[in-house]
Structure formats: structure tokens, C-alpha cells
Amino acid sequence: MEAPDEELMLAYKAGNAGAFETLYARHRARLYRFVLRAVKVRAVAEELFQEIWMRVIEARGRYTPQARFTTWLYTIAHNHLVDHWRKRGLTLVALDGEELPAAADPDPADEAQARQALARFAAALDALPALQREAFLLHEESGLSVAEIAAATGSNEEAAKSRLRYALAKLKAALNDG
């Protein structure tokens, strides 16, 4: 039976580097995609991804398994993304209830329908307000529950649920559009 994440993190805290390697292997791809889809630029995503893990390494001494390790990890990731946007003079704003922006231009070639649909979906995902996209990615990519999304982003469950539902509705609309 595999050791739970929390146990591995505690083992790493106690000086077991091998425990970190297991933990990293479990979460690297999903966390990377979460960051990449949030900032959209590979170079920036790589930099942020590395910094997030550095924060995990530095914070190991204060780690206590009060919640799932995943929630803790994505709390750090969320905080780091917020810092990243703030440094660039941007901010996360909730734009719940806004109109869905126009999808990507359709590909005229009939044989490219599937690609077109995917492009439309990608455009819809990109067009989501940052908080809604984050809620969707935390749920879809990282498997966080609504309560865990609320915990990781410092919001309440109602807000997290609402963001996730808006995101899903817009993505569903993009799926059904065409």
C-alpha cells in the first residue's frame, strides 16, 4: 500500500529526501498543468512551478497535516499565482455572470471539426475569469472538492461552488456550440 502524501511530507520534514521524490512524482504533472493553464506561457509556468516547489521545500519545517497535502500544495500554488499577478499590477477579479466571450474563429475545413471543437473549448477555458478558471482547474486537474477549493483559495464554499458552476456552464456552452 502506498504511503499517503501527508506521511511522505512528514518524512521529508524529518530529512528523508526519498519521500519528497515520491511526493513530487505524484503531483508534478498536475501541478504543472494547473500553473500552465493559469498563466498560459510555458516559460512563466516553469518559473512559477519551480518557485512553488521551492516554497514547499522551505516550508517543510512548518508543515502539519491539518488538511490533505494536496490542499496545502495548491494553497501555496494559489498564493504564488496571486503574488505573480499582483507584481504585474494585475489582480484576480470575480466576473461572475458576465457574458461568455466569443469562441475562436471556426476552422473552415470540414475534416478539422474535432480540432475546431477543441480550439473552441480551449478558447472558452482561456476566456474564463481567473477565479473561475482556477476553481475549474483545481477541481478538474487536481481533484480538489469544493470545500478544498475554498480552503486553498481563501474563499468560502458558496463562492467556490458558484465559480465552479459558472466555469462549468461556460465550458459546457462551448462544447455544445457547434
Partner: protein, 216 residues
């Protein structure tokens, strides 16, 4: 409400790709993680030793202060008179093990500017002054010690501040338009509490005014 996933959306999302970090990135992170644990082993012993040495150095320093310069009445334990101190060999006075601790201290809290007019008669500052063999008068030493202690007290106070109090202080900086200071302080906060969940109401207070949305 545990899982809101829509199978159609999940499937389409998976089709977007399964990008992964590069092997170079993996190596860099795993290397840093390994180095951190190897540092951890000797660092904790060193830290304990440094604290002990600093404590001993402080006691020695206080005991060697001339009685007339001491802020309080005569100490309970016998202390060398200034004249006797002058006769003490310099190597005995300099207490070599005390050096690493003050240097560490200097890194944490910047020392006050050096005394402008050193006087050779009071070499008792040497153990606290680092490698430079500078000499200071007793009052200067007292001022220096006072500054160090107040810096240490300030650092302690900072540590004693709860995350909420710290954030309130940063929010006040924002309100006063001290954005640069607020940014630096926020960066320090994040270093110390990378996993702290800042409530959204507070997060808004910590942002600069007139933001432009990142959502698009």
C-alpha cells in the same frame, strides 16, 4: 456536491494535452530538495551551537563591562575592575568562540554605523564586533549593544506578531500609499507563511488601488 465533474467536459479537457515539466526542471527541484535535507542535518546542530555561543558571549560581555559604565548597581558576582581588565591578555579577552554568533546576528539585524572615534583603552567590544579589531569606548559599546538588543527585540516582536496582525500592518501601508514597502513586507510574509490562506476581504486590502483585471 463532492464532485461536480461533467464527463464531457473532463474528456474535452484531457484532449487539451498532458504537458509535463521538463526533465531539467525535475532535476533542479529534486536537487534542491536533497540539498535542503542534507543542510538540515548539520544546520540544526550548528544553530543550537550558535545560540549557545551567543548566550555565553553575551554573559562574558556583560560581566566584563566596567562597573562605572554598567547601567545597574554592582553585580552579584565578582567582576574584574577596569584596571585588572587592562592587564588581561588580549587573547583572553577576545573569547574566540563568540565570533560566529555575532556575525550571524549582524546578518539578521544590521549593526549600527561604526563608532567615529575609537579609543584604544576599551577593547571589550572586540568579541561582539566581528573580525575587525576595532576598539570602542564603553558607552559606545553600550550603545552598540543597545542597538543590537533593540534590533533583536524588534525581530522578536516581528516573530510574535500573528499573521493577521502582520497583514493588517501591510494593509495600512497600502492605505498610506507606501506600496513599495508593502510589497517588500508582503514578500517577507509569503516567505514565512507560504501556505497562509489570506481571506479575500484582506486580499483586496493588500492590493494596489485601481487594479486592472487579470481575468482576460
Amino acid at each position: 456536491m463532492a464532485d461536480e465533474r461533467d464527463p464531457q467536459i473532463s474528456q474535452r479537457y484531457r484532449q487539451l494535452g498532458t504537458e509535463e515539466p521538463s526533465p531539467e526542471l525535475d532535476r533542479a527541484i529534486l536537487g534542491a530538495a536533497r540539498r535542503a535535507t542534507s543542510r538540515h542535518r548539520w544546520y540544526s546542530s550548528l544553530a543550537a551551537a550558535a545560540v549557545l555561543i551567543f548566550a555565553v558571549a553575551l554573559v562574558v560581555q556583560i560581566e566584563r563591562q566596567p562597573p562605572d559604565q554598567a547601567p545597574m548597581s554592582a553585580p552579584a558576582t565578582p567582576v574584574l575592575s577596569p584596571r585588572t581588565q587592562d592587564k588581561v591578555a588580549p587573547q583572553e579577552r577576545e573569547a574566540p568562540p563568540a565570533r560566529p554568533a555575532p556575525r550571524r546576528r549582524v546578518e539578521q539585524a544590521p549593526a549600527p554605523p561604526p563608532a567615529p572615534a575609537p579609543q584604544p583603552s576599551a577593547n571589550i567590544a572586540a568579541p561582539m564586533a566581528g573580525a575587525a579589531a576595532e576598539t570602542r569606548t564603553a558607552p559606545q559599546v553600550q550603545r552598540s549593544m543597545g542597538a543590537r538588543l533593540s534590533a533583536a527585540t524588534e525581530a522578536q516582536a516581528n516573530l510574535a506578531e500573528t499573521p493577521e496582525q502582520w497583514l493588517e500592518r501591510i494593509a495600512r501601508m497600502r492605505q498610506l500609499g507606501r506600496d513599495e514597502e508593502a510589497e517588500k513586507e508582503l514578500a517577507r510574509f509569503r516567505e514565512r507563511y507560504p501556505d497562509y490562506r489570506i481571506p479575500e476581504a484582506m486580499a483586496k486590502k493588500l492590493e494596489k488601488q485601481a487594479p486592472s483585471p487579470a481575468a482576460r
